[in-house]
């Protein structure tokens, strides 16, 4: 089974047909995708800015993270679910699009950065949790996250203009 046959099968599903053929299916799912994106990345942005020590310096990093986590978790859920539905409908052309590939790469790197950061900082975070300016390695992780999410958004927009 090649990727091409999987994509063709995906595009033949009832879910894909709903997006491709109904008048409101596509705009409704795109609207959810944008809402999810602005919620998740918009909230995560403030965790990254705190990691960089640029603002909210009087709050603990863990407080900023915990306070915003429910919001970016819901945002990510909406964004990934709607993104998967959109991919189902246009799998072949999306896979062939260079900006889609850049977006997926940046997304994977952002996930790797987040998981790596949690894994490496783990128990040691107590040492800098309350520090107005966290250590360099932590600031680098915050900056990396910001840069990668900007790349995801830009590539996502470029993709929608070059795919159809």
């Amino acid at each position: 089974m090649t990727p091409a046959t999987v994509f063709e099968w995906l595009e033949s599903t009832a879910l894909a047909a709903l997006i491709q053929e109904s008048l409101y299916g596509f705009p409704a799912v795109v609207a959810i995708h944008i809402l999810g994106l602005t919620l998740s990345v918009g909230a995560l942005l403030w965790v990254d800015l705190r990691l960089l020590g640029l603002c909210l310096r009087g709050a603990r990093v863990s407080e900023v993270y915990r306070g915003l986590a429910p919001w970016f978790a819901v945002g990510f859920l909406l964004m990934f679910a709607s993104g998967a539905v959109l991919f189902t409908a246009f799998a072949t052309s999306a896979y062939a699009n260079v900006f889609f590939r850049i977006k997926m790469l940046a997304l994977a790197l952002a996930a790797l950065n987040a998981v790596g950061f949690h894994w490496l900082s783990g128990k040691r975070s107590a040492a800098w949790d309350a520090a107005p300016q966290p250590p360099a390695a932590v600031r680098i992780a915050g900056l990396t996250s910001l840069v990668l999410w900007v790349a995801v958004i830009v590539a996502g927009r470029m993709m929608s203009y070059t795919m159809f």
């Binding site: 944008i34 994106l37 602005t38 909230a43 603990r60 306070g67 919001w71 470029m158």
Partner: protein
């Protein structure tokens, strides 16, 4: 009004945007980055006003950077939104979802900064009335995100 929109479409910036897919896509990408900044910052500001976030920080400590970021994000979105609008002013202005988006934008901004004025008056604590304002403001910003791109697709 219609003749004004027709004139807008003939301006150099409108013609350049309408003719270049790269320029349109780039403006649209920056537009979305600006709006992501607006939504995230409005979320932070209004959650703090609702008392749902960062209990150890003062209201001012959270709202100062958050509201500054809302203004910067709005400036980016408007600066990139204007040429995108100008390129197809007649068609876009006639679109119902676009009209709803503009009403929501105005309502969200007015509500957000009207509550913000109250914050300065109250200094350290948020008044109960301001909480309702914060909830309404947050709901308006999130509704705006939903209509933000839907208008492009609904003709």
């Amino acid at each position: 009004m219609d003749s004004w929109f027709v004139w807008l479409e003939t301006t150099a910036v409108a013609e350049a945007t309408a003719e270049s897919l790269t320029l349109t896509a780039s403006l649209s990408a920056i537009h979305l980055l600006g709006f992501t900044l607006v939504t995230g910052s409005a979320l932070l500001a209004n959650l703090k006003r609702l008392g749902a976030l960062l209990p150890r920080c003062s209201v001012a400590e959270v709202l100062r950077p958050a509201n500054r970021a809302v203004v910067v994000g709005l400036a980016i979105s408007v600066a990139t939104g204007v040429p995108l609008f100008a390129a197809h002013a007649t068609a876009v202005s006639a679109n119902g979802t676009f009209q709803l988006k503009m009403v929501l934008l105005l309502a969200a901004a007015v509500c957000h900064f009207a509550v913000g004025w109250n914050d300065r008056v109250q200094a350290a604590v948020v008044a109960p009335g301001a909480r309702t304002g914060a909830a309404v403001s947050l709901a308006l910003w999130l509704s705006l995100a939903v209509t933000a791109c839907a208008f492009i697709l609904l003709e």
